[in-house]
Symmetry: C2
Subunit: 223 residues, 2 copies
């Protein structure tokens, strides 16, 4: 039985899956797909994922794409504690509520700003349009405020109580990505700060391992 994990640490959801695999001591074989070299768009990789994206898993021949689906599948198939994705129907539905919201509610605003401000200028050599930057920065700020004022307005350690769920891993990795744009989502958001620190501490040292490359690139951008 083998589990292959196609990833790159530049991908937020790939980092979320990586931390999940590590914290739960699930055995896997790492398959780096270098996004910087566009390896996700090669003919070979497009056979594995025609969308040309990571993460992907290959669980003994069963290929699965999309981080949220991957995390749910791993919770069902591997021997992980129930708190990651509760089997109880209402508790599970509440985790789903966040996970489904975050695609357009958190990942889109933070990820689009990252693309515009950091990624696309590196690829095209052209600076982003100021009006686009302004528009998507406003969306990102509003999204971080929604985390602070709505999702974290429960005085709990994590999104759904005292234990981690797969929702927490997905959330923090999107938030961390913004540092590449010189943005700090913690600033002025005490709940978000405590929350991100809690997730980092609970998943140490794998959180830092996963974020090592973006931490380094963010530090270089400041020089």
């Amino acid at each position: 039985m083998s589990l292959k994990f196609y990833y790159d640490f530049m991908s937020q959801p790939a980092r979320a899956v990586y931390v999940f695999l590590k914290v739960n001591s699930i055995n896997y074989e790492l398959k780096r797909v270098n996004l910087g070299k566009f390896e996700q768009k090669t003919e070979e990789f497009m056979k594995i994922n025609p969308m040309g994206q990571v993460p992907v898993i290959d669980d003994n021949g069963f290929i699965l794409r999309e981080s949220v689906g991957i995390l749910r599948y791993l919770c069902r198939e591997k021997n992980v504690p129930d708190h990651w994705y509760p089997k109880e129907s209402k508790a599970q539905a509440k985790v789903d509520e966040f996970i489904e919201w975050q695609h357009l509610g958190l990942r889109l605003p933070c990820g689009f700003y990252f693309r515009l401000q950091w990624l696309e200028p590196k690829i095209t050599g052209k600076p982003p349009k100021e009006s686009d930057l302004k528009r998507f920065k406003a969306l990102m700020l509003s999204s971080c405020d929604t985390m602070e004022n709505i999702w974290l307005n429960n005085n709990k350690k994590f999104l759904f109580g005292d234990h981690l769920t797969i929702a927490d891993l997905l959330a923090v990795m999107e938030l961390e990505q913004t540092k590449l744009c010189g943005y700090n989502p913690r600033e002025g958001r005490p709940r978000l700060t405590a929350y991100m620190d809690s997730v980092k501490s609970e998943t140490s040292p794998h959180y830092d391992e996963a974020n090592k490359i973006i931490d380094k690139l963010a530090a270089m951008s400041k020089l």
Copy 2:
């Protein structure tokens, strides 16, 4: 036991949940939230969903937002045939793969073009920027092509075989919304045409009931 369903037929995911409830003969109480009158942003409704969005269900006091989470919850809690969201782990993972892809892969491109081309000009009285329209139309076309060439490249009646899943309802409602922009996703896409017709026929007459308002508005736009 009561199930309240907060909806508006202008919302793609609300239409998907409506058709699911109807086809499965689940009893519910309709609670219209008129998006045209911004009722989703009233203080009263924001207590039910602080995101100010439909659909929402209230299942005997348990409030749940986000269409995908709602559909999964209803599949678990109500007596519906297994094909809607298979319990078998790998089959379920494959449905999840589509559902999680569609947020940014289908809903974003189609929905964003709809917002830019149809909705925002109605609200602001200002025409959309040509460069924005061009950019998001290209994304919408590419998304419809991905449906035709990748997801429907299996010669099956529906996305996952001969029976409907919740993924089909979510997909077709996003595709239908584009007609408000004068776009016809079926044109030049024979698989997508056959597929959308199959979903419509399998869920008749509820498909047309759900789409009645957007059909009417699309017809008016052509005059």
